[in-house]
């Protein structure tokens, strides 16, 4: 028998071999199922409909119209220096015009209720980079951030993978519509202390992903006060701020700080991005807005690893400085999202499915707990699997969002045409009808 001489394998880093990238979660298994058999209106009408992707595709027409009238080429055509200077521009401060445009856009989204200083804006390649970067700055390896559950599955990777920082969940449940409570925050904090883990901050997503709801003012005040007492940071990921169905319902942490005269604000940092509100995830546009000078300086330096393409900054600077365009866009986008939301809520209701009352985002938080065979994570995953394979829609199980209450699912509604949404709702309807029929025909064993 021949002896195989194995090449000694040299190890990769611990980070490289760990599974903290999180891709083995069911969150992604559904994506794979979709990729293998994607729904298409004409060519594959029985394929899997992707409802696990929180993307905003309802307002592209407005962007396209703007670009047709304000061609990128026309700005280059004005002369070589324009393109050349732009292509050479790698200053981590970012294009001033772009920072100003972002600051003004963020103000508009908040109805002018908060002011943003362009010099506090740090640009990063997407909110993914922004969240990781902030974590590197605010916490040491082994420390923790408190994050209310349910939360965006990508946080497991973004906040923890390369940073070595832990997430300690603040458990929320349906008894009070999943709102964060002081008790839950205290419990999470004490839990960390008991494990000898140093808590460095609270990270909230407002409006919430996956809940699709804004955080109430009183809760935000409580979170700020809690952070002050524990002397920790607050990171507010406001990536869905422009996707609230009605402008007046969103309260940004920036507004509260302004009302407090910016007292004790150096512990607060806001993350924003154009991936959801403008539907441009491919452009990798993220920002960190910090009230802490040292964080701004350090974040800016660190952003060297993930700067925004100057080409992209240039195009968006002019688009977002166009007041007429941005006002129309923000207003119309909100209306369209609200309409979609109402369509899906109504459709689900007639199928006998209730959702958490939402007012923002690109998804709704659907309650299928009555359908669970067992009120457990396994029961939820079994249900999820049958929905994926029988109903052929990919939705995200609450457990992948670390929800402590089984049976909830996030369902996206803005990443498809209305027609496709209709098809999805019909399928869900049939599925629910079938289950009712099955229940009648084979009642539970006594």
């Amino acid at each position: 028998m021949a002896i195989e001489i194995e090449q000694p394998t040299v190890e990769l880093s611990k980070v490289a071999v760990s599974e903290t990238h999180g891709e083995d979660s069911p969150y992604f298994a559904g994506w794979k199922a979709h990729d293998e058999d994607p729904y298409d209106e004409s060519s594959n009408s029985s394929g899997v409909i992707q409802m696990g992707l929180a993307e905003n595709q309802v307002s592209f027409d407005m962007l396209e119209e703007y670009l047709e009238q304000n061609s990128e080429a026309s700005s280059w055509a004005e002369g070589a220096p324009g393109f050349r200077e732009n292509a050479l521009f790698q200053d981590y401060h970012g294009l001033k015009s772009f920072r100003q445009a972002m600051a003004s856009f963020m103000e508009k989204i908040r109805g002018g209720r908060a002011k943003f200083d362009p010099d506090r804006i740090v640009l990063t390649a997407g909110a993914t980079a922004a969240n990781e970067l902030l974590t590197f700055i605010l916490a040491d390896p082994g420390d923790a951030l408190l994050v209310p559950t349910p939360y965006y599955p990508g946080f497991d990777r973004d906040l923890r993978w390369r940073t070595g920082v832990k997430i300690v969940p603040i458990h929320c449940d349906s008894s009070n519509n999943f709102q964060v409570t002081l008790e839950a925050m205290e419990a999470a904090y004490m839990h960390a202390v008991a494990m000898n883990i140093k808590v460095r901050g609270v990270l909230i997503t407002n409006p919430s992903n996956p809940l699709g709801a804004t955080i109430q003012r009183s809760v935000l005040e409580e979170i700020l006060d809690f952070a002050k007492r524990k002397n920790i940071h607050v990171v507010s990921d406001e990536i869905y701020s422009g996707s609230t169905f009605s402008s007046s319902e969103f309260v940004s942490i920036a507004e509260i700080l302004e009302a407090r005269g910016y007292k004790d604000s150096e512990r607060v940092h806001i993350v924003y991005s154009l991936s959801k509100d403008l539907g441009l995830p491919g452009f990798r546009v993220g920002t960190i807005y910090s009230y802490n000078d040292k964080v701004v300086t350090t974040a800016r330096r660190m952003s060297s690893f993930s700067l925004i393409s100057s080409q992209t900054q240039h195009v968006l600077a002019s688009m977002l400085s166009d007041k007429k365009f941005t006002e129309k866009y923000i207003k119309t986008n909100r209306e369209r999202l609200r309409k979609r939301y109402e369509m899906i809520i109504q459709g689900l209701k007639t199928a006998g499915i209730e959702c958490l009352k939402g007012n923002a985002g690109l998804f709704c938080w659907m309650n299928l707990s009555p359908l669970l065979e067992t009120p457990t994570r396994e029961g939820e995953l079994a249900l999820w699997n049958s929905i994926l394979h029988e109903v052929k829609i990919n939705i995200s199980p609450g457990s992948s969002c670390h929800c402590s209450e089984p049976g909830w699912f996030r369902v996206c509604f803005a990443n498809m045409s209305e027609t496709t949404l209709d098809v999805a709702l019909k399928r869900i309807h049939s599925f629910m009808d079938q289950r009712k029929t099955d229940a009648i025909q084979s009642p539970p064993q006594q």
């Binding site: 061609s71 280059w76 390649a125 605010l138 452009f283 660190m302 700067l307 080409q311």
Partner: protein, 479 residues
Amino acid sequence: MERQHQLLSQIATNDRHGENSPYFDGWKAYDNNPFHPTNNPDGVIQMGLAENQLSADLIVDWIKKHPEASICTPEGVHMFKDIASFQDYHGLPEFRQAIAKFMGRVRGGRVTFDPDRIVMGGGATGANELIMFCLADPGDAFLVPSPYYPAFYRDLGWRTGVQIVPVDCDSSNNFQITKAALEAAYDKARQDGINVKGLIVTNPSNPLGTTLDRETLKCLLSFINEKNIHIVCDEIYAATIFSSSNFISISEVVEEIVDCNRDLVHIVSSLSKDMGLPGFRVGIVYSYNDAVVNCGRKMSSFGLVSSQTQYLLASMLSDEEFLENFLAVSSKRIEKRHSVFTKGLEQIGISCLESNAGVYVWMNLRHLLQEQTNDGEMALWRVIINDVKLNVSPSSSFHCVEPGWFRVCFANMDDETLEVALKRIHAFVGERKERETLSAKTKCWKKNLRLSFSSRIFEEGIGSPIAMSPHSPLVRARN
């Protein structure tokens, strides 16, 4: 303020961002008083920025002819929706294919690159950090031949916790990397209890502008195979090789060595230098190791290339005619600049390390040092910044063990500005020589000498190096 300080992480409050280095003092001097041919002709000329600005006209030309390559024009907007929503960390297939082709072409078509091994990084800055995260744990080390790019201190180690173990090179053999130096550095690290995970080389070298020959590359590969450590080849200056020269990439040599464990070999590339597009943040990690490609790809989520930019470049770099012409013209222009600059320096007895690539020269000013020490170098450098008004980069900022060398960039300005820079250097050297000569002559001859001597040097272009006393009264007076 103190309380604020405690609220942040160790990474946030340590010095590994590297900005406290004197390397940046020159930049500050430039920022405070930037040269402009008409508005500020006495300002500081920036010669510390390694950028390739010589061939932007070719790119602008292409862009004007291809409005459809931009998704933000009427001609290209039909692709807007698909591209703007594309955030897949695999990258646009056509982008990866174009990059693979580009890398192959830059290496003279002697190697083919597999588009599926291409991983994006936020510029080479992001790519270098990414590969470190994949290969090394906090506290591990990478061997880095000195002199090396100053920002490696930040890029390789700030957030990764990876240490740099320098492999010192000096002028005794034109700064070549020797097996002995590698072994010595490796052994010492091991003795000190440092876990060496790999070696990173920049080829063509920054700041030297030299390329590694086939023998050295083979030697490096056998070294890393023997020690079972990784090799990362930062080849971001590959296309800045002079037209008369041939660049040998590690990718060529890997295919030649039979027992080479390819899982150890990784290349970093970028379009920032080769194409002069640093603002577009196109960094590439190319690994022969499947696990590294998989892991690296996931990590690239933190620094993906804007899909808008991927789309534009996919189009541009697939235009073979354009690319072939661009690379040929760019390389010629760089070589010409290099020639003009080095000849201008030779006229006043300043020599540079012989180089065949890069957008800078490694200038030898050892003969102008008052003392052959770091202090001597810093003193001279301050004179160059403050009096000659040129921002050049001192060898100490590249962690070079030999003081007196300076990296001087020549491709980030127009011809006229380069002329001004040369004139200033001529004047500076002439003045120093004159003062030195004067100190040895009697006073009554002073006036005549000053006029005739300095003008003779400038106009006649004396070729032989003028030996300068290391105890020049000019420098001593300043100290």
